[in-house]
């Protein structure tokens, strides 16, 4: 049985990764799961300088999921390279760093610094966070803007780049094609879906930011549909995510066309989810006599 997948020349021992922002840099969840079991750890978004993020409350539960408006709080690339990367290097898993910025220059600064770190296998470019006022999603909701930033980053990047797409667009295939045309090595989707919750007793927004990104099992059907559409619109690999709670969910994304998958908000619900998904995929492959996991990619009929 072979669970290996390949994304832009990078081999992952299995297709299970972590959703950016839901796993820190692995330190907190290393207490619960063996990080060596994961195909890759995708870090929390990191910018060129520390970002304080949004005021609290930053999270709210909704039916079958949650809203967050963290606002990409991060310690900045310098601390990240001194602390988080050495931590992750101890493990036999691929390191994928999520990169965020307010301007193209911010992104490029981070991308160039990470270029000096061979332990970083790939970069995931966050052009889809709905919770910051500048940058991020501003680059991810218009195809021409996405094309331009992808092209700029591709010129400087020394690792393959994954463009992380927002679901908050009219046509996901247009965005997927724009990123591919600009040289993206892979796509990941979906980021969170913009939502809102109102506390009717206090007549206030549940989040200080008013809106937040929805994640969790309730968004999975939307995510599967978008992964299917994107995967059929481009030739580059697609990493699928959005509400994955079980191996069955992960298989669904793979059948829809995903080469790899990420476990996101469910880490908060069950900190063992990632490894359970890894093991469950193996069980599925045994049950259905699947020799290579790659045989399942896009295999829905």
């Amino acid at each position: 049985m072979n669970t290996q997948v390949n994304i832009a020349g990078v081999t992952l021992k299995n297709p299970v990764m972590t959703g950016s922002g839901t796993f820190g840099s692995g330190m907190e969840y290393g207490e619960f799961v063996d990080l060596n079991r994961l195909g890759a750890v995708v870090t929390k978004g990191v910018a060129n300088v520390p970002w304080p993020g949004n005021p609290a409350p930053r999270v709210a539960e909704v039916y079958g999921g949650m809203l967050n408006a963290i606002g990409l709080q991060n310690p900045g690339i310098e601390v990240f390279m001194e602390r988080d990367i050495p931590f992750l290097k101890q493990y036999d898993t691929r390191i994928i760093v999520n990169v965020c910025g307010k301007t193209v220059e911010d992104y490029l600064e981070v991308v160039e610094k990470l270029g000096d770190e061979p332990a970083v296998a790939m970069l995931e470019i966050n052009v889809s966070c709905p919770n910051v006022k500048e940058g991020a999603i501003a680059f991810g909701q218009k195809a021409d803007a996405l094309y331009r930033i992808t092209e700029e980053i591709k010129k400087k990047a020394r690792q393959p780049i994954i463009m992380k797409l927002s679901p908050n667009v009219t046509d996901i295939t247009e965005m997927a094609r724009a990123a591919e045309a600009a040289g993206a090595d892979a796509l990941s989707l979906i980021n969170t879906i913009t939502g809102m919750k109102i506390d009717i007793h206090r007549r206030r927004f549940a989040l200080a930011n008013k809106t937040g990104g929805m994640s969790g099992p309730a968004i999975k059907p939307v995510a599967v549909r978008m992964v299917y559409q994107a995967a059929h619109a481009v030739q580059i690999p697609v990493i699928g995510m959005g509400g994955i709670a079980t191996a069955e969910d992960a298989i669904e994304f793979i059948l829809a066309g995903a080469t790899a998958v990420s476990v996101g908000a469910m880490n908060f619900v069950d900190p063992y989810t990632t490894v359970k998904v890894v093991e469950g995929i193996e069980d599925y492959m045994r049950t259905y006599h699947v020799e290579n996991i790659t045989d399942l990619i896009g295999a829905v009929e």
Binding site: E28, A60, P217
Partner: protein, 256 residues
């Protein structure tokens, strides 16, 4: 080592309107300290996240935890129906807890307001100092008062004046002319702000337990932050995580 595990309900009763007293048999008790908390999971798939609830008491054998919580929504409403023998998934042990050494041999205030009363009970049991417990309630529906009386002098304040001092915990301190070298407190934000100010005025230490909506409870999601006076050594911004850097903070170090 944190873990998500199954706990078994030993007993549960409503001790004041919408306030429930739940004893859980759980391996998490072995490592528990006063001021720490656990995440309790609802079974309903619509409510996914663990509910952060402070530890009220740890039994002598360290095999069971007592949590006293108020029904605040669907999750806690579901917990209130738990019966002896039922199972509940729990995550823990979470948070840092109260620093016991700071008050050792000193005059200490242990202050709790409303649903902030339960987290200081185990502290009252373990703290070795001259303890004055000051409890604030809305009205005459007091809870846990007798439990505290086993370990310390207890003063009560009620908003409606039906029991003890009329007013809040600060009024109770004034009315009884109490003094302390160290304060430990848990309660609503206005109470904690008043305590922070009082401690600064008196030049004494105050350790306050904060709460905020949280998702993971283990420091990963960055949902439950509090503004800090100095740059936090982990986040490298003026934000600390209540779930892991707290919930107990030196009042001087947080901007509330």
């Amino acid at each position: 080592m944190k873990e998500k595990t199954m706990a078994q309900v030993i007993s549960q009763q409503e001790i004041a309107p919408r306030i429930y007293d739940l004893w859980l048999k759980t391996s998490l008790a072995a490592q528990a300290r006063p001021g720490q908390f656990i995440g309790v999971y609802p079974k309903n798939a619509g409510t996914l996240l663990p509910r952060p609830i402070s530890i009220c008491e740890i039994n002598a054998e360290k095999t069971a935890l007592r949590i006293v919580y108020r029904i605040a929504g669907q999750g806690t409403a579901e917990f209130s129906a738990l019966k002896p023998g039922d199972q509940a998934a729990v995550l823990g042990i979470l948070g840092n807890g109260f620093p016991l050494e700071a008050g050792k041999g000193k005059r200490c205030f242990l202050m709790g307001g409303g649903i902030g009363v339960p987290p200081i009970l185990q502290l009252a049991k373990e703290l070795e100092g001259d303890k004055s417990v000051i409890l604030g309630y809305r009205d005459s529906s007091l809870f846990l008062k007798e439990d505290f009386e086993q370990y310390a002098r207890v003063y009560v304040a009620t908003e409606d004046g039906s029991r003890g001092t009329k007013g809040n915990v600060m009024d109770a301190i004034a009315e009884n002319a109490l003094e302390a070298d160290v304060i430990y407190a848990c309660g609503p934000l206005p109470m904690l702000r008043a305590i922070k100010q009082y401690a600064a005025h008196c030049g004494i230490k105050a350790y306050i337990s904060l709460e905020e909506h949280m998702a993971c409870g283990v420091g990963a999601c960055l949902g439950c932050v509090v503004k800090t006076k100095e740059v936090d050594p982990h986040s490298h911004v003026h934000n600390a995580r209540i779930c892991t850097d707290g919930p107990v903070f030196d009042a001087e170090e947080v901007e509330i």
